[in-house]
């Protein structure tokens, strides 16, 4: 007598890739704009990037319904924080909040693969990468989503993330300048689009600096 299994799943994967790179005084967060289901495309123009605070931007791939719900919860919690503390949340604080929010649903997780990018209290770029249940780490760069397996090894090659075992302890921040980082992001997405069917259409790039946020859009292959 084999166990009865559900004939439907509460989850779906809408595909897509998210990348973030931290610099000395900037942070680049990028994601493609294709939303898929199965082998079909739902839309070519869906933004996976969401500004949570002045200095914290979230980019998530996975099940977009869960991503939307997660974004709404974090936005509301941020409003409460602002009322209580009379200031915006810092990126490290938001990182912890995101982790707690994800773990809260440990036994029915948000199907969201998150990358949080922003500026820390000292104005330096920071990137936090997550799994679906809230395990997170501060890193110099990260990729999540359907194209992550194609992009991550290339970023490792280019950005030479220092091993935490090396002494003296080195910064996770990349030495790249902002235009170089943006160029790198465009390159990796162009490559990922070639081989990953779920990545393509358009690339949305958000550049976070102390004076504000700039957005750039670039076309990708639509096949």
């Amino acid at each position: 007598m084999t166990k009865q299994h559900a004939n439907w799943s509460p989850y779906d994967n809408n595909g897509g890739t998210c990348v973030a790179i931290a610099g000395s005084d900037y942070c680049v967060i990028a994601a493609d704009t294709r939303m898929s289901t199965g082998y079909s495309i739902l839309t070519r123009d869906y933004s996976k990037i969401h500004k949570l605070a002045d200095k914290a931007v979230l980019s998530s791939s996975g099940f977009q319904a869960d991503v939307k719900a997660l974004q709404k919860v974090l936005t509301s919690r941020h409003l409460v924080y602002q009322h209580q503390h009379n200031k915006q949340m810092s990126c490290p604080a938001m990182a912890q909040l995101l982790s707690n929010t994800l773990y809260f649903k440990r036994f029915f997780p948000y199907y969201a693969f998150n990358v949080l990018g922003g500026l820390d209290e000292n104005g330096k770029g920071c990137v936090f990468t997550y799994d679906a249940v809230g395990s997170y780490e501060k890193v110099g760069y990260s990729a999540q989503g359907s194209g992550s397996t194609l992009i991550m090894p290339f970023l490792d090659n280019q950005l030479k993330s220092p091993s935490p075992l090396l002494l003296p302890a080195q910064d996770a921040i990349t030495p790249l300048s902002e235009p170089e980082a943006v160029d790198l992001v465009k390159t990796v997405f162009a490559s990922a689009t070639e081989r990953d069917i779920y990545t393509g259409d358009k690339l949305e790039i958000m550049i976070l600096k102390a004076d504000g946020i700039k957005t750039e859009v670039m076309d990708l292959r639509k096949d």
Binding site: K72, V73, S76, L79, V80, H83
Partner: protein, 307 residues
């Protein structure tokens, strides 16, 4: 225990009523007696007085009158909330009386500021939950009804007490700018302009003279009128930007406080020409040697719980 015997005395008198004219005579007497027995029906919020009043609720409204002044005005597109910054002593900071509820709603309070803080938190929570569920800003009119219902609950539970704070809720919705006043009684009213708290009558008089033009006022004129109304409540004390807090919200302008510089600039526009103002007391105020001390001494009539 002996005190409970008295009401029965009243009732026996009432039972002696016969003709209508005799009734009227005796009813007046009852009211007089009710005034004497006011403190018999005022212990519980759930006890009616013989004349149909809930004294505890009325006492709560008195608490609002004890707080320092708060003023609200609105035009078609903007709402200005202003309050007087009274600190308990020179050593302490002043009590915050104006709170942001959301980008499109602000509230100014007078009375027990602790109660006001709690209600502001409630309003913020309601606003956030509404935005979360409906992805749109909570209309002010809905918020004030919920606030009023919350206040009403406290007038009908024996284990609660009414909130001792009056709230001037200013906000923007699809039909324009609105200003409401919420009482501890659970009533709420919409206003073009209103003032609450101690010495608010002076501000109300000023606003009554001008309110008909407020709907078409520009944002700057509205702010100026608010500060002038605040000046009325200060009654002779020199108006300084450190004495008042002013907040604005409007179409395309989320709720925010005006900084001291902006307030001082507005004050400077009318403080320099005292003879043009209707209130001739302005010149006398400027001549006053120590206005700050004057204000501090006059503050002893403000109830301690306001601070």
């Amino acid at each position: 225990i002996r005190a409970h015997i008295r009401p029965f005395k009243e009732k026996t008198k009432a039972s002696k009523r016969k003709s209508f004219s005799v009734q009227t005579l005796l009813r007046n007497k009852d009211e007089e007696e009710a005034k004497m027995f006011r403190n018999q029906y005022d212990t519980d919020v759930t006890t009616w007085s013989p004349t149909g009043r809930l004294f505890q609720v009325e006492y709560a409204m008195e608490a609002v009158k004890q707080g320092s002044a708060a003023i609200g005005l609105r035009s078609r597109s903007h709402v200005v909330l202003a309050s007087v910054n009274k600190a308990q002593s020179e050593l302490s900071s002043h009590q915050w009386k104006i709170f942001k509820v959301d980008d499109h709603i602000g509230v100014a309070i007078a009375g027990l500021t602790a109660d006001g803080r709690v209600l502001s938190r409630y309003m913020r929570s309601e606003s956030i939950n509404h935005s979360f569920t409906y992805e749109s800003p909570l209309p002010v009119g809905r918020l004030v009804v919920r606030l009023a219902d919350k206040a009403q609950v406290c007038t009908q539970r024996s284990w609660k007490r009414p909130y001792g704070v009056g709230l001037l809720v200013g906000g923007l919705d699809e039909s324009g700018a609105h200003l409401y006043y919420n009482c501890p009684s659970g009533n709420y009213f919409e206003y073009q302009a209103f003032a609450i708290g101690s010495r608010s009558q002076a501000a109300k008089t000023y606003l009554e003279r001008r309110f008909e033009s407020f709907n078409e006022s520009s944002r700057e004129d509205l702010i100026k009128d608010a500060i002038l109304a605040i000046r009325e409540t200060l009654q002779g004390e020199t108006l300084k930007s450190s004495l008042c807090t002013v907040s604005v919200l409007g179409v395309d302008e989320p709720f925010h406080f005006l900084d001291q510089e902006s307030i001082q600039k507005v004050i400077d526009t009318f403080e320099k020409v005292p003879e043009e103002e209707e209130d001739g007391g302005e010149a006398e105020a400027e001549a006053a040697a120590a206005p700050a001390e004057q204000g501090g001494a006059g503050d002893q009539d403000v109830a301690p719980m306001e601070m």
